[in-house]
């Protein structure tokens, strides 16, 4: 039997009916049409499905949608301010930190969570925070550089 699920996603309130067996990623992608979070490994190992749930990065492929009931979710679609990209997105572009882009929404969302918690991370801290994110194209140096640069940009913007 379907149950009522209430979510706030990227600031918008949603009420949807879901089967209890539905995974969070399927509600986001199929019912709300937010295709940013990806099904990659589909088993919690690659990070492509990462979204923020109540401010913390989690794997939306490994959570029942109903487990997020009442929660606040941020996906990659909610990061830019209208036509203006978020500084982390800008930094990813400037550092060529993506090629095919499949893993990028997860990478950027995880980077956002890191910089919210730790605005001035060391290179080592960036690598540790991002170690659950697999990228098959770029290698990881450019991603690390982009996040370190994004940290600077965000700090300058705050001044």
């Amino acid at each position: 039997m379907k149950k009522l699920l209430e979510l706030t996603v990227n600031g918008e309130h949603y009420e949807v009916l879901v089967e209890p067996k539905t995974l969070l990623i399927d509600v986001l992608r199929d019912q709300l049409g937010l295709k940013g979070a990806k099904r990659g490994c589909d088993s919690g190992s690659c990070g492509a499905c990462t979204v923020l749930l109540n401010g913390k990065p989690v794997h939306s492929c490994s959570i029942l949608a109903l487990q997020a009931n009442g929660g606040e979710i941020l996906t990659i679609e909610g990061l830019a301010d209208g036509p203006n990209l978020h500084p982390i997105q800008e930094a990813f572009l400037d550092h060529w930190a993506l090629q095919c882009g499949f893993c990028t929404p997860g990478q950027i969302i995880a980077a956002k969570a890191l910089l919210d918690e730790n605005p001035n991370p060391t290179e080592e801290e960036v690598k540790t925070a991002m170690n659950g994110h697999i990228c098959r194209c770029t290698g990881y140096n450019m991603i690390t550089e982009a996040i370190l640069d994004a940290a600077k940009r965000l700090q300058e913007a705050r001044r």
Binding site: P20, I63, Q67, A113, T128, G132, H133
Partner: protein, 308 residues
Amino acid sequence: MKNITQNFEYFAPKTVEDALSLLSRYGDKGRILAGGQDLLLLMRQDLIAPEYVIDIKGISDLDYINFDDKEDLRIGALTTHRTLEKSPLVKNRFSILSEMEQNLGSVELRNWGTVGGSLCIGRPCGDPAPLLIVLNGRIKIASLRGERIMSIESFNLAPFEVDLRPDELLVEIQVPNSPPRNGVSYKKFSQLEEDCAFTAAAVSITLNHEKNICDDIKIALSMAPTAMRAKKSEEVLKGKEINANLLAEAGQVASEEAGTLTEQASKGYRKKLVKILSKEVSDQYRRELMKVLVERAGEEALERAKRA
């Protein structure tokens, strides 16, 4: 991977009492869902298909870390790995636990996964169990019939099988204060450095208050075939002044006393899982790893005991 095929009835109790009533009613045909990062994988592979799912993640009363000098460290079963990792109290007083948590999977996994959930899924290669065994950890289990407390060492029965009856809920993990001159180390091997352990060894050494003689020792292995004590290996070191040769011997003995993965394979989905695991890693390779891990963990635990 495919989605879950079979429908189930879903409950999300908000109190322990409500959860226990649901378990006493539906426990034998149901499963408890905490974070669910392991359980949902089993369901998606049709390895298990519960009719009822009791989602306890919303019971906020089971998310706590308490400690005072007279008492043990008390960890609510629904405390996430990330909360344990970040707790200043745990960092100060039980740094080995923070150290283990820092390397348990990814930040995402630790944010959602719970300590109690990880123990209950009974993964033979799981991270928290071996370390909690050498720390003399206990768990509190509740049901409508009452409460019981047991050692984590005896909780693991076989691969993916723990001593939890259908109406029972793990509610708390307890870790006693360590004695003086005690050192603990945890070493694991995984495919990716910070992935879940593939195989692991935990060693706790307590030295005599005057001499550098080993008064007490605990060694625990994972995947042997479940998280278990390596008692023969402990005997090699107990009462001795530990040196490199003895540590190498203890490693050798541990690798020999470990069982084969399949021998304890229980029925149903557990049997299938053990079959998959034993295909992924050869017995010989696993034993070779254990030998080295016990030796290295022993070395580090000894150093830490001397400094403690």
